[in-house]
Amino acid sequence: MKKLINKPEDVVRESLLGMAAAHEGLMKVHFDPHFVVRADAPLQGKVGIISGGGSGHEPMHAGFVGRGMLDAACPGDIFTSPTPDQMEAASKAVNGGAGVLHIVKNYTGDVMNFDMAAEICQAEGIDVEAVIVDDDVAVKDSLYTTGRRGVGTTVLMEKICGAAAERGDSLAKVAGYAKACREAGRSMGMALTSCTVPSVGRPTFELGVDEIEVGIGIHGEPGRERMKMKSAREIVAAMAEAVIEDLPFQRGDQSIVMVNGMGGSPLIELYILFNELAEIARNRGITIARTLVGNYITSLEMQGFSITMMKADEDMLALWDAPVLTAGLRWGA
C-alpha cells in the first residue's frame, strides 16, 4: 500500500487539521468528539443542518460545511459511521433554537448511530428531524431488507436544504425539501479498481485487468454485477437506464445531474461520461437544467464514477442556484 499519509490511525485527524488550516474563517474543527462546524455557528433562529458518515468520501461531508450548505459534519473513521457523541456535540454546536436536521445515508451503522443521537438530543430539548437518503438503484429494495444505500443524492440534498435553511425556512420546511430530494433523486455507481482502507493495507476487492464492478457502493462494497470492461458509451447507457427507469424520469422533466468521480478517475474521463449521459437525456426529452462534474462523493482512490439524477422544479432550482460557500462547492459567494 502506497499512500500519502503518516500513520493509518492518524489519517482522519491530520486530514481534518489540514482542512481547518486550509479553510480558516470558513470552518472550525473539534476533536474528541470529532466534528467540523461552520465558523459562525450557531446562527440564532436558523435551522442547523448536520450530516456525517465514514471518512474517505471527501469532499463529502466536511467539505460541504459552510454558508448555504451544512452547519456541521461528523466524520467517522474511514468508511465507519461516526458515533452518537459526535452528532450530539455537533447538534448542540449548531442549534440556534430553530432545530436541527440530520441528513443520514441509509447504512445500518449510520442509521443506528444517528438514531441514538437523535434520542439523546431530543431528551436534551433540541428539536431534531432526520431524513434518510436511499437513492442507489443498484440495490434492490424490499420490505425485508435494509433498503437502498444512500449515495450521490446526499450532495444535492445538502445543497438544497442548506439554501432553504440559510434563507430562514423552518425545520419542517427544510425537512420537507430533504424529503422531496429523497423522492426525486436516483443514483448508480461503478468501479474500475478497488480502494484500499489505510488500516487494512490491501485492496478491499480484486478486479481483473479487464473487469469492472457495476452497482458498487461508496465503501468498496462489492457491487451488483462484475463484468468485462466495456466502452464509456455502453457503461453510461446501462447505468442511465437503471437510474431513469427507476424514478421514472419522463419526457419534459427538468433535472439536476451529477457525474461524480470516485476519487481516482481523471476529469477528462468524467466529461466523456457526461457527454454520453447528456446525449441520452436529450434523446429521452429530459432537460439537464444544472450540472456537477467532478469528485464530490468519493471512495478514497477508487477509479470509477457514479451518476445522480434528481428531478427538480423551479423552486428547487432556485435553491440550487443560491449562494454557497464551502470548501468543496462554491458559487455566488
Binding site: S81, M116, T146, P222
Partner: protein
C-alpha cells in the same frame, strides 16, 4: 454467583480476544461488508479495558455501563450501537449488584438481546449477529430451567452461538451492508455472528 471480578475478567479478556481476531473478523467483513468489523471491535474493547482500568467500577452495573458508553463512543458502524445497546440494557437490569445469580445472568442476557433486537430490527435468518444471539439466549434459558450452573449455561450458549454462526453461511443477508449483495452474500459467514460467538466463548472461559 458471578462476581464483579469475573465480569471484569470477561470484559478485559475481550480486549485480547478481538485483538487476536481482528484480521479474521475483518476478512469476513471484507467478503460481504466493508472490511472493518475486526478493527472496530478491537478499537472498542481496547478502549473499554482502558476505561475500566482508569476508573474501576463499583459494581457490575457500572462496569457494564462503562462498557456500553465506551463502545457507543468508539466502535461506530453497526456493531457500536448494537453491542452498545446490549451492554446498556444489561447494565440497567443489573443496577446496584456486585454479584449475579444464575437467574440474574439469564435476565441480563435477555435484556441485552432485547435491546439489540429493538435497535437493529433484525430477525432470525437475516444473517446477522442475531443468528448467534437468539440460539445462545435459548440455550441459556433451557440450561437454567434444567438447573445448570452459570459456567454450564455459558458453555451451552457458546455451543449454540457457534452453531448459529455457522448456520449464517448459506443465508442471504437481509440486514446490514451484506444485504446489498443479495445472492452474492451466500457462502460467507457473518462477521457479527462470529464476534458474538467469540464474546460468549470468552464469557464461558472466564466465568468458571
Amino acid at each position: 454467583m458471578l462476581t464483579l471480578d469475573q465480569v471484569l475478567a470477561w470484559l478485559n479478556a475481550l480486549d485480547d480476544v478481538y485483538a487476536r481476531n481482528k484480521a479474521r473478523l475483518t476478512d469476513l467483513d471484507s467478503a460481504i461488508g466493508d472490511a472493518d468489523h475486526g478493527i472496530n471491535l478491537a478499537r472498542g474493547f481496547s478502549a473499554v479495558a482502558a476505561a475500566l482500568a482508569q476508573q474501576p467500577p463499583e459494581d457490575i452495573a457500572a462496569a457494564l455501563k462503562t462498557a456500553s458508553l465506551t463502545l457507543i463512543r468508539t466502535v461506530g458502524g453497526a456493531a457500536g450501537p448494537l453491542y452498545g445497546t446490549f451492554f446498556l440494557r444489561a447494565s440497567t437490569v443489573s443496577a446496584g449488584k456486585t454479584a449475579l445469580s444464575a437467574a440474574d445472568v439469564v435476565a441480563v442476557i435477555e435484556a441485552g438481546v432485547g435491546g439489540l433486537l429493538q435497535r437493529g430490527k433484525a430477525e432470525r435468518e437475516d444473517k446477522t449477529m442475531v443468528d448467534a444471539w437468539l440460539p445462545a439466549l435459548e440455550a441459556i434459558q433451557k440450561a437454567h430451567a434444567e438447573g445448570a450452573s452459570i459456567a454450564e449455561m455459558m458453555r451451552q450458549a457458546t455451543a449454540a452461538a457457534e452453531a448459529g454462526m455457522r448456520a449464517t453461511i448459506p443465508l442471504i443477508a437481509r440486514k446490514g451492508r451484506a444485504s446489498y449483495l443479495g445472492e452474492r452474500s451466500i457462502g460467507h459467514q457473518d462477521p457479527g455472528a462470529t464476534s458474538t460467538y467469540l464474546m460468549l466463548q470468552a464469557a464461558a472461559d472466564t466465568w468458571n
